[in-house]
Amino acid sequence: MAGTVSAIGKEWLIRKALLVSALVVVFGLALVIFFMAKESLPAFTGAGPANLFGSVWDPRQGRYGMLVFLTGTLTTTAGGLILGTPLALGLALFLTQVAPRRSRSLISRAVELLAGVPSIVLGWLGFTILVPWIRRMSGSSGSGILAASIVLAIMVVPTITAISRDALEAVPPSYTQASLSLGATRWQTVRGVLLPAARPGLLAAIILGAGRAIGETMAVAMVIGPASVFPTSLTSPTHTLTTKILMEMGESTGVQRSSLFAMGLVLLVLTMALVMLVRRVSGGESRLMVAE
């Protein structure tokens, strides 16, 4: 079979072709970073960093501050995590410790389904049901950080649940058995042994949840406002970085357009920093895609 010159040549060629397809992700990442940086250059030269990171967005006055949107991104992400993390961790504990064996796969499948719901569909639901409901409850416009946080919580639950379930399952049963045989209750075992042992994985899960929330666009765009001002309450309209880019990219030019790319660059920096953090926390090799 092998051994002839042409067979060796073919083998070499296939090897190189596979190498090239493996390098596409690296090339693609470099390309994304390069073009986002290149397109945001006019904003840095034309408006300047002080203007770009200022708190006023008013292109007609030459003000391109993104602080409002950065605040929106950080507060909605925090809100989503505050609402979603306890639920997801509870769910992961349920799936690994409490649930009757037969119901486990059923419930994990249901949670996977939630991960599969397209963000535009979830956003539509938020816009048609959640926002009107908050409007009736609070007497405000209904859209804002609260609605966005609830929608984001729903989106991060599958991510955090899947990864923290893996982390909990990776704890050797001998650890928990030892604790239980010493007379500790199940909750004492969970708190004293299981959670500390799974800590790096749980942290990674929450960080990845944060990454997902920071980058989420459509679902947030339909419930956040929109308004380019700081919110005065949890139920007053505002913007996040992603929703601002989405809503204005189509109808902007020049420095304004470039400053939207600068916001994209900031998003890129934020999410890449989280990736580095996860790699640090979970010790090099990370498993980022579990929930997708």
Partner: protein, 301 residues
């Protein structure tokens, strides 16, 4: 595990009063969060279907011509756009993803390239979809001159989906037992022949599952397509170099410019329900086909 649960019930009996109470409270809280999550899943799915399933299931809606000003329009061009986009993207991302997975698990020798590729995949998978969208607009729509088109969208979504497809393919390839590889090599196969005859057939069910699930992600993606493919079309886009409008992007169009069509609410709800239905069916399909492919391969391997 049986032993553990016996221990659990005993330990509560012997624990102090406070500890036993805390244990009960924690159990209740954990049950509560699980039931809340389950209610959330059911609630979300039920609400979307309740709003739009009636519309989505009528043939005149799915196969109907869209209206730009009047009510009663259908979404046929959007349905075609969505699936066209999925087929185009898959035909690009699947060879790349499987090729990359094969390289990483079967051919790579140096740790440095592997580490570089993994870093690239991790980072790329964290990039927000709207960033992919504006990147695709600059590079594919404008620089490459593709204009708003299915091709520009497919190229964008290829980058977006590559890390996931690569990861699931690698998982499938790595799950092939080493004895298969050793047997093939012992028969005198070259490395590629081994991959072709022993690894790929066995990994196929896993790769198929990954591919089906990525169809769901492509069809549901919106932020990355609104600036690369388009928002609304009246006619079915038969050429990949023509503007198109996937359903997900069209829902966004209805949300932002909806007032143009009197029944925008009905159209968007119908599209949302139809999209969800597609995702649900694909999920089911991914499970069953994996079994089917495995069975079929079982005769051959």
């Amino acid at each position: 595990m049986e032993n553990a649960s016996v221990l659990e019930s005993r330990s509560r009996r012997f624990a102090g009063k406070g500890a036993a109470l805390a244990d009960r409270l924690a159990t209740v809280a954990i049950w509560f969060s699980a039931m809340l999550a389950l209610a959330l899943v059911i609630g979300v799915i039920a609400a979307i279907l309740w709003q739009g399933l009636g519309t989505a299931l009528s043939p005149s809606f799915i196969f109907g011509k869209p209206e730009a000003m009047r009510e009663g329009g259908g979404i046929w061009p959007m349905v075609v756009s969505s699936f066209y986009l999925a087929v185009l993207t898959l035909s690009l991302v699947l060879p790349l993803g499987v090729g990359a997975a094969l390289y990483l698990s079967e051919f790579a020798r140096g740790g440095r390239i592997v580490r570089l590729v993994r870093f690239g995949a991790d980072s790329l998978s964290a990039v927000p979809s709207v960033v992919f969208g504006v990147f695709g607009m600059v590079v594919f729509v404008i620089y490459l001159g593709l204009g708003y088109s299915l091709m520009a969208g497919a190229l964008t979504l290829t980058l977006l989906n590559l890390p996931t497809v690569m990861r699931s393919a690698e998982e499938a390839v790595r799950s092939v037992p080493n004895s298969y590889r050793e047997a093939a090599l012992a028969m005198g196969c070259s490395r590629w022949e081994m991959v072709k005859k022993a690894v790929l057939p066995v990994a196929m069910p896993g790769i198929t599952t990954g591919a089906i699930l990525s169809v769901g992600r492509i069809v549901g993606e919106s932020a990355a397509v609104v600036y690369t493919v388009g928002l609304f079309v009246r006619k079915v886009p038969w050429s990949p170099f023509r503007p198109a409008a996937p359903m997900a992007a069209n829902i966004w169009h209805m949300y932002t410019e909806g007032a143009l069509v009197p029944d925008w609410f009905r159209v968007a709800s119908g599209e949302a329900a139809f999209l969800l239905l597609i995702v649900l069916v694909l999920n089911l399909l991914a499970r069953t086909t994996a079994g089917l492919v495995r069975k079929k391969m079982g005769y051959r391997a």
